[in-house]
């Protein structure tokens, strides 16, 4: 009997990173901007997507992948807006992985502009998985409190933009958007911040314009 010690240095997320790179390449080739949405449960991801579907109607074509632990409900809400939606039920898993996206990719229309991926509601695990997106948004709703960035730094560090949602509730809550964005920017200085009320529409134009800009940069080869 022989005992051998091997130095292997094998990244545990390597398989996911490879799958994500393939997806990113394919979507770039099709000229589709993929946007991964991260947040806690109930922070308004689906409501934000519904509002963006209204805002983009007639100008851009969207598709949505919904990641959910169990139900098909969020996809139904998106379909009601006339947007094709695919539901990935993870059956208990706390995050989406690139392979799951890869499986539904072939069925997604080739002529869309934006592919939104609503990740499982959880600020911890989804942050570790690249889904092949070009843009990652992290949502933080006003009822959650403005101290979330320091508690979940990985999610904020990995995001391109922070969307402060449920701005319509700000008059009733101790949430300070300036403090939340300062805390997030202490973790990632380049983070863009949008304050949005999907219900009343404020801030949606700015967010939509920023997404369109990212789409144009992708298509002109500068993203």
């Amino acid at each position: 009997m022989t005992v051998k010690t091997l130095t292997v240095v094998h990244d545990l997320l390597a398989t996911n990173k490879q799958a994500a790179a393939a997806i990113r390449g394919e979507l770039r080739g099709r000229g589709i901007l993929a946007v991964n949405l991260l947040s806690s449960p109930g922070s308004g991801k689906t409501t934000l997507l519904e509002a963006l579907a209204d805002r983009f109607r007639g100008r851009f074509r969207l598709a949505v992948i919904e990641g959910d632990i169990e139900t098909e409900r969020d996809a139904e809400r998106i379909r009601a807006k006339g947007v094709p939606a695919w539901q990935i039920t993870t059956g208990g898993a706390c995050h989406l992985e690139a392979r799951m996206i890869g499986k539904v990719l072939a069925g997604i229309p080739a002529d869309i502009d934006f592919l939104f991926i609503e990740n499982v509601g959880n600020l911890v695990c989804p942050a570790s998985y690249d889904l092949g997106e070009q843009v990652r948004l992290v949502l933080l709703s006003s009822p959650e409190g403005d101290d979330k960035p320091a508690k979940y730094p990985q999610a904020f560090l990995s995001a391109d933009a922070l969307v402060l949602t449920k701005a319509d509730l700000l008059p009733y809550l101790p949430f300070d958007p300036a403090r939340a964005s300062a805390e997030a920017r202490a973790i990632k200085p380049a983070l863009r911040v949008f304050t949005v009320s999907a219900l009343r529409g404020e801030g949606l134009d700015e967010l939509a314009a920023w997404l369109v800009d990212a789409l144009e940069r992708l298509r002109s080869g500068h993203a």
């Binding site: 009997m1 022989t2 005992v3 051998k4 010690t5 292997v8 094998h10 545990l12 570790s128 560090l157």
Partner: protein, 117 residues
Amino acid sequence: MHELSLVASMFAILEEQARAHGATRVTAVVLKVGVMSGAVPDLLESAFEAYRKGTLAEGARLEIVVVPVKLRCPDCGGSTVREDTDFSCSACGSRRVEIVEGRDLVVDKIELETDGA
């Protein structure tokens, strides 16, 4: 809690390495866990305990090495090691720092047992 799926990836690596080296058992694994990797060492340990039964790493020892965050500063050239989430340069206070270590999650070493010489 995504540690179970991380541990599943780890066992895929262990099995592949054992096969490549004609090993019958994995006796130890050294895992390097970055503070910013998104994985929790205690949860990795529990997931490892749960997963290893009936595998060729059933009796393996798991050693977790926690890797702190190391920042490099483009403004003054300094480097800073952080245990917390204050991502600023300790020398000049710059926030334009680059994270050079502490985000990875890697199997670093594996100890294998083979039959015969």
